[in-house]
């Protein structure tokens, strides 16, 4: 077996080289760009390769560990390095542009500062918020990271370090985690897609200057305020197999009742229906607001050029709604991933046979009901990475294209 120090040195050296080459190449055009790029890239590669390894102490390269662990270890080394190199590229770009990096975070400095020495006054004002954020967000987040590498049971204080076992366990077919991920993405995709498409269609109708537009609007948006739990209960009386209205109607028409909640290929759609119903009002509300900001003259110009309603919609209105759509996709993804928990808990409880058991549902089920805190922490980490990933992808694909018209 190769000694740990060897792996450490080797990986740091290789990734430092890769980082230096990458960032040096990116910065080759600007003044000092090559030098800065090489230095930052090498540092980022070297430090990044240790990012996950130092806390984990290279445990996946121990003699008794299998090939999966080793591959995961190499993956983590590369991932950590790439993350820091990416951050370095970001940093260099802004250094290059000569913008103050503080204004990047804070925005432009604000006028009207209070003159004089106020000492700890701002800190006193911030203290309650900072204490709460540290205790109830940052500390649990870090503890969650630590827990994901431990064998930890709810109710006992004793823990044991298990390296990446909690993560590799997720690949075990017996865990059925693939199905959980599939169910999550399936439900999330259709909740977001149907919710946005239907919301935009209805908003387009409600935005037209028809009589009673305000009344229509109010009658359309209220389900937003309904809780996911209430949505689950209300949809229970619609889709319940024995007493639900849907099956009553089907029976009255002489058809065979549908197993809305018990059939594993239909139950996800029932969850999607209830979730879209609840989120539709929110989407309509924001699309109406967005449509009101679409300048009329653009549409008139297009009409003069002979564009019909459909063309005007897809070529003028839809692109101009980019920022709103972007915002709605982010909020709807968060909703579909997390807030559907209450709906699922009251409609199907993750069943039948795990068909509606989403990732957040599994976190609670495995962590609290089955008392395996380590496994649940590993799952919430996976969930975290996915949600951040979707946000970044979304930012990079539509963030660039969005038009901030009028």
């Amino acid at each position: 077996m190769i000694p740990v120090e060897m792996i450490q040195l080797l990986s740091a050296a290789i990734l430092a080289l890769i980082g230096a080459a990458l960032l040096g190449f990116l910065g080759r055009r600007s003044v000092n760009g090559l030098r800065n790029g090489v230095v930052v890239g090498a540092l980022a590669g070297a430090i990044g390769s240790q990012l996950f390894m130092l806390p984990l102490n290279y445990c996946m390269f121990e003699a008794e560990r299998g090939q999966t662990d080793m591959l995961a270890g190499i993956g983590l080394i590369v991932l950590g390095a790439l993350a820091l190199i990416w951050g370095g590229a970001f940093l260099l770009r802004f250094l290059d542009r000569d913008t103050d990096w503080r204004t990047l975070i804070m925005g432009a400095s604000t006028p009207g500062l209070f003159r004089g020495q106020w000492g700890i006054m701002p800190w006193l004002l911030l203290a309650p918020s900072l204490v709460i954020l540290t205790l109830f967000l940052y500390y649990p987040a870090i503890d969650n990271l630590r827990l994901s590498t431990l064998l930890a049971r709810l109710g006992t204080d004793r823990t044991a370090f298990v390296c990446l076992d909690n993560f590799t366990k997720l690949f075990d077919p017996r865990q059925n985690y693939g199905q959980t991920m599939y169910a999550t993405f399936f439900i999330a995709f259709f909740v977001v897609f149907i919710g946005l498409a239907l919301g935009l269609f209805i908003a387009y109708m409600a935005y037209q200057p028809v009589k009673g537009a305000n009344i229509y609007r109010t009658l359309l948006i209220w389900p937003y305020a309904i809780s996911p739990v209430a949505a689950g209960i209300i949809f229970n009386i619609i889709f319940n197999e024995s007493s639900g209205i849907m099956n009553q109607i089907i029976r009255a028409g002489g058809g065979t009742p549908v197993e809305w909640l018990q059939n594993s290929s239909i139950a996800p759609w029932t969850i999607i229906a209830a979730s879209v119903w609840k989120s539709l009002g929110f989407n309509i509300l924001f699309y109406i607001a967005g449509l009101q900001n679409v300048p009329d003259d653009l549409q008139e110009a297009a009409a003069i050029d002979g564009a019909n309603t459909v063309q005007r919609f897809f070529q003028i209105i839809l692109p101009l709604l980019g920022p709103i759509t972007f915002f709605l996709v982010i909020t709807n993804v968060t909703y579909a991933f997390f807030d559907t928990y209450g709906t699922i808990d009251f409609l199907t409880r993750g069943g039948p046979a795990g068909a509606t058991s989403t990732m957040i549902y599994r976190v609670i089920n495995d962590g609290i009901s089955k008392r395996d805190l380590g496994l649940a922490a590993a799952q919430s980490l996976v969930l975290f990475v996915i949600v951040i990933g979707i946000t970044i992808v979304q930012f990079r694909t539509s963030g660039r294209r969005v038009t901030y018209g009028a």
Binding site: M121, S227, Q299
Partner: protein
């Protein structure tokens, strides 16, 4: 944002000659297709709740026979739900929790907004970044760590502070107020300083009176959010005596051996009234609370 929709007149002279407008019979309102779509949409959006309301007055036998007329059991169900199943108590608990979280969040956000806009202090951008990063950390993702910390280290399981404390600080609120304060004219604080006011006096006599819209916006969002919370109360209040209404609805699932649909639907409908009323009344404030993210 919430102005009336401007009439859109697409027809130009050239187009009119190309395609003469079809004749619309007098009895048909303008844009009748929009009315049709909207009425249908309102109907389908309202249908689930309407049917739930109907069922809440019916006994199980009436539900099973699919009667579309109101049943006679509303009074009985009300008593069963609100008194026997303690939903009245749960609703009161939810009111207390939502008000505490809403008021607490607003106060803490006002304070941090004040600190970020009107003070210069070392490491300000770093602290701001520290708050900013929490936007990427929904409670759901760290819930296992939070639960362990609450029940293990703090021993706040089943207590009110365990239920409310994690939600008192808010990055959203801080940004909302920072943005709002930063857009106020600088002369305000100049004048206040001229008059010898300290920052706290300035907050109470100038900033808060000028921020009621923003405060209202944050309040609506937070009230609805905390009223509808389910996952966290369900976890932390196990064995506690301050259960909120969303979790309390669970107890209606297991009335006898089978579900009694009437009381269950009644519970869901009653539990939905406060947030829906707040939302409909304060729609405009609600929307303006999102300006920070929708308007550039």
């Amino acid at each position: 944002m919430a102005q009336k929709a401007r009439p859109y007149i697409p027809l130009t002279a050239t187009q009119q000659t190309q395609r003469p407008p079809r004749k619309r019979p007098n009895w048909l309102p303008q844009r009748w297709y929009a009315h049709v779509v909207l009425i249908l949409s309102c109907f389908f959006v309202g249908l689930p709740l309407l049917y739930a309301m109907l069922v809440s007055t019916q006994t199980n036998a009436e539900v099973a026979n699919f009667r579309l007329t109101p049943g006679s059991s509303l009074g009985e169900h009300l008593n069963q739900v609100l008194v026997n199943r303690y939903l009245g108590q749960f609703i009161w608990n939810s009111v207390v929790l939502s008000v505490v979280i809403t008021v607490g969040k607003t106060i803490l956000s006002l304070m941090s907004g004040l600190a970020f806009v009107y003070f210069r202090f070392p490491g300000k951008w770093l602290v701001f970044g520290f708050v900013l990063a929490t936007l990427m950390m929904p409670t759901e993702i760290l819930i296992i760590g939070l639960y362990r910390f609450m029940t293990g280290t703090l021993e706040w399981g089943g207590t009110f502070q365990g239920l409310a404390a994690p939600f008192l600080a808010s990055a959203t609120g801080t940004f909302l107020f920072r943005q709002h304060f930063a857009n106020l004219p600088a002369e305000l604080s100049e004048a206040a300083q001229m008059d010898g006011a300290n920052p706290i006096q300035f907050l109470f006599s100038v900033l808060i009176p000028m921020s009621w819209n923003t405060i209202g916006a944050l309040a609506v969002i937070q009230f609805i959010y905390s009223w509808n919370m389910y996952l966290w109360p369900q976890l932390i209040m196990q064995g506690g005596d301050f259960q909120v209404v969303q979790v309390g609805l669970r107890s209606l699932l297991s009335v006898d051996t089978s579900i009694a649909y009437g009381p269950l639907m009644l519970g869901a409908v009653i539990a939905s009234i406060p947030p829906v009323v707040v939302f409909i009344l304060l729609q405009k404030q609600f929307m303006s609370g999102f300006q920070i993210t929708t308007d550039k």
